[in-house]
């Protein structure tokens, strides 16, 4: 479970977040919507504790933003999968290596990693480019690699920040279906998106953000 209690984030020129209170239950699929600059990414960054809240508490599973340590944050980040809005691939590593990184970090066996990574790269349709350097991929390809890296370790929460921004409608649907499938397997997914067409009929909770506040929190059964 991910829980925000009176969370605010102050930035120098802009809103950041103001007094956010919200819970994302386990296994649920939530969509975060809102104009650019409304604070979607900031919200997600708080969850993987890339930034600290200026005030308030963020709780993610057993971890709380009140008691952080390098060791705890390390554990937390290992159990959360993140598709960063700017991908954050390591440019001079191959697609394979980028996707394998989370597994390597956790110390899985080479054989397991190979099987797992190849399956997932196949699923996102990049098997042909598996040895290509991430720095030479097209943006859409990079985005798919970023998605593969986020889901490869079966995280307990998956954060996806605009995961289809650089994809054509067809690939977007494929990716969205992938996220749905992962959600069905028990992972909570929190996805920030602008692609209203893609999510039009999705039966998921929609959280609307506006200037650093949650303007609507609409659950759909």
């Amino acid at each position: 479970m991910v829980k925000f209690e009176n969370v605010s984030v102050d930035y120098l020129y802009s809103e950041g977040l103001k007094d956010i209170n919200i819970e994302f239950p386990d296994k649920e699929f939530s969509l975060i919507l809102g104009a650019t600059g409304s604070g979607k990414s900031t919200l997600l960054r708080l969850i993987y504790m890339d930034i600290e809240p200026t005030s308030g508490i963020v709780e993610v599973g057993q971890w709380s933003s009140r008691k952080v340590s390098a060791r705890k944050i390390k554990k937390l980040r290992r159990s959360v999968g993140v598709v960063f809005q700017d991908f954050r691939l390591i440019e001079n590593m191959s697609v394979y290596e980028n996707v394998a990184l989370p597994l390597i970090i956790e110390g899985y066996s080479r054989k397991y990693i190979k099987r797992k990574v190849e399956t997932i790269i196949d699923e996102i349709g990049l098997l042909d480019s598996i040895n290509q350097k991430a720095g030479t991929l097209s943006k859409g390809e990079e985005q798919r690699v970023a998605i593969a890296r986020a889901i490869v370790k079966n995280p307990f929460v998956l954060l996806a920040d605009e995961p289809t921004g650089n994809l054509d409608p067809e690939s977007s649907v494929t990716v969205f279906n992938l996220l749905k499938k992962i959600n069905k397997l028990g992972t909570a997914v929190i996805m920030a998106t602008h692609d209203y067409l893609l999510i039009k009929d999705a039966p998921y909770r929609r959280v609307m953000m506006d200037c650093g506040r949650i303007s609507e929190n609409q659950e759909i059964e």
Partner: protein, 292 residues
């Protein structure tokens, strides 16, 4: 898999970021060779001075009418002077012999009588060959009966003490300053090399990698850079030895080839420096929150 990744990554890093890595290697190589070259020169000067000291001796020429009792007393007194390491009695015949060896002429060919006096050659302990101590010893010897003349090259000692020793001290200071400076250059270069890859460190942290995992590729990279830098420095030193060898033999009567093993020290030192510097550098870029 982790260790495979780490090794591969270290090698790969080196190749994919050629510029900073090449610079780090060059910096380590040049630093080490400058440092070790200068140290070696200073050391050679030092050992030359020591050799001059070691060869320092005091000659006591005895009066021609000295009695053997007086000689006994003299020897006993010499034994009592703690600064004296050793002395050697040179009879009139020994002196003639030495004269023959040194000048190639038999003294009896020139004179029928041997005019060379009996003498003692006195050696002091190495640490005692300082102008003031020597003067002191000479003064004490002077009081002994039966001595005609005392000869010793105190002016050489004076020169050593006034100039050469100073040069040594200055040389030591230079080496010390170089040590600090070179150490800083190597650390800074590696820090910059890591700096240019701070993105990678940040990404790995966001993926939950532990400190060691984060650091090991860089440490290994530092190790490899250090070893290659050390080899580079070894090669430079080798050529320095080749070039300077004749000069060194002439100046210091010293076979530079003897210290050719310096290249192995150089590799070892490079490796240590590389590891320490890269490890410390990565630490600078490890932080918990990206906003720190």
């Amino acid at each position: 898999m982790r260790s495979y990744y780490i090794l591969k990554q270290a090698i790969y890093n080196i190749w994919s970021v050629r510029i900073p890595v090449a610079i780090a290697i060059l910096t380590i190589g040049i630093s080490l060779s400058v440092l070790m070259g200068v140290s070696e020169i200073i050391y050679k000067v030092y050992s030359t001075v020591e050799k001059v000291r070691e060869e320092f001796e005091i000659d006591l020429f005895l009066k021609s009418d000295i009695t053997s009792l007086q000689k006994d007393i003299l020897e006993r007194k010499l034994n009592n002077i703690s600064q004296i390491k050793d002395y050697q009695y040179i009879s009139k015949e020994d002196a003639a012999q030495i004269f023959y060896v040194e000048f190639g002429e038999n003294i009896f060919d020139i004179l029928t009588d041997n005019p060379l006096p009996e003498s003692y050659k006195i050696k002091l302990y190495n640490k005692m060959t300082h102008v003031t101590i020597v003067n002191n010893v000479v003064e004490r010897i002077n009081k002994i009966d039966g001595i005609d003349e005392i000869k010793y090259h105190n002016d050489l000692l004076l020169l050593i003490e006034k100039y050469l020793l100073i040069v040594m001290v200055i040389g030591g200071a230079i080496v010390f300053v170089l040590l600090l400076a070179m150490n800083m250059f190597v650390r800074n270069t590696i820090k910059l090399s890591v700096y240019s890859r701070r993105d990678q460190i940040e990404i790995l942290q966001l993926l939950g990698s532990g400190k060691l995992f984060l650091k090991l590729p860089f440490i290994l990279e530092g190790l490899l850079e250090g070893i290659i830098g050390g080899i580079l420095s070894g090669i430079i030193l080798y050529f320095f030895h080749e070039i300077a060898s004749d000069t060194a033999t002439y100046l210091f009567d010293y076979d530079l080839k003897e210290t050719n093993y310096i290249w192995s020290i150089s590799i070892f030192a490079g490796a240590i420096v590389g590891v320490l510097a890269s490890s410390a550098s990565v630490n600078k870029f490890i932080k918990i929150f990206s906003t720190e």
